[in-house]
Amino acid sequence: MSAHEQFADDLALDALSALGGEDRLALEKHLETCPACRQEVEQLRVDVSLLALSVSGPTPPSRCRERLMAAIAKESRRSRARLSKPMAWWRVLEWGAAVAAVALVALLLRQNRDMRGHIAELESNSVAQQQQLVQAKELMATLTSADAVHFTLVAGKTPPQPQGKAIYVRSSGTLVFLASNMPQLPPQKIYELWLIPPSGAPIPAGLFRPSPRGSATVIKPPLPPGVEAQTFAITIERAAGSSAPTSQPILVGTRG
């Protein structure tokens, strides 16, 4: 029996769900903090179940059983249908995944094929560039080799004359200059090449000393790109070179 006699009667009513109003609210509040009364309510509910069983006797009509079994069978079918939906859904997912995998493989194969083509193209370009590089190196080696022998072809019995050949690419400011039959200079002097634009001062385009045979090359001197060249000229300057011509040109060449 609960130690809280003031709630004892209400506990019985509560077990019967027969307690209402303020009494019920007060009891619920008390039960929150009283384990003994909660246990007593549990016991009283057991007592109530005895009361419930006392009326057992009448048997339900047979149709009740049929109705129940039919309802259970119907709900079972629904449950199976509900269960089958996720399976179908998953199967759709599986098929979707398979299709996606096939598409992915196709995409990868295509990318692989494209990549192979790209690589072949790069390889081809690389081979071509390597060939060009080899040719350029050979050209440079030929032009700059100390063993190179320069031949100047002239008409008739004309003695060899100093001459120069400038090959200029304006857009990149690249210049290759070849000279031949150039007289030797004293050590304190040097040849200086000039780029002369249509307007403005001549631009220094490199210093050179001829080989014992009078040949000389100037390869890619530092020039600003985009400068139009109207004339190239060569002057003799002091050994350190000059920022502006200090003598008359010994060779002058216009575009031709």
Binding site: D9, A12, S17, R45, L53, S56, P60
Partner: protein, 156 residues
């Protein structure tokens, strides 16, 4: 479920019929209680009591709810009902019923009536007091005494 129905349908139907006094309504409650048991069999904890007592009480609660034309207030999972010994055996069951009815029959009529009005008619103690013209305190005492009498009869 078929075996459970064979064994306990009478208890459920009897309680529902006693509360509602209408066979059609009692059949509906019978259907509802067993469907609920089929859908959620785990709400009954066998370690805490017999299925018979549990079904009887939840049936009463559902029937009272139906009687008052309101939505169910008591979920079957909330009910904790225990009766020992277990009523699964038909002999024990018959003996148990005889004892319960014997105890109720031996109760003073006002006491038994108050219990039945509270349990089977779903009346509050205030309503019972109004209907019987007895003081509230008297109704409370009678109901509690009646339940304790049942408990004492089963040495609980």
């Amino acid at each position: 479920m078929a075996q459970l129905y064979e064994r306990y349908a009478s208890i459920v139907y009897s309680v529902a019929l006693r509360v509602l006094g209408d066979t059609g309504a009692a059949e509906d409650i019978l259907q509802e209680v067993f469907m609920q048991l089929w859908r959620s069999p785990d709400v009954f904890d066998a370690s805490r009591g017999s299925l018979a007592g549990w079904l009887a009480v939840i049936t009463r609660n559902r029937a009272i709810d139906s009687l008052r034309k309101r939505r169910p207030e008591t979920g079957i999972a909330e009910m904790v009902v225990s009766i020992e010994p277990d009523l699964a055996g038909s002999t024990d069951w018959s003996r148990m019923l005889e004892r319960i009815r014997g105890v109720l029959g031996s109760m003073p009529q006002p006491q038994r009536s108050a219990l039945e009005m509270a349990f089977f008619d779903g009346l509050t103690h205030t309503e019972i007091a109004e209907r019987t013209g007895e003081p509230l305190g008297t109704i409370k005492t009678r109901i509690r005494a009646g339940l304790l009498t049942l408990r004492k009869a089963f040495n609980r």
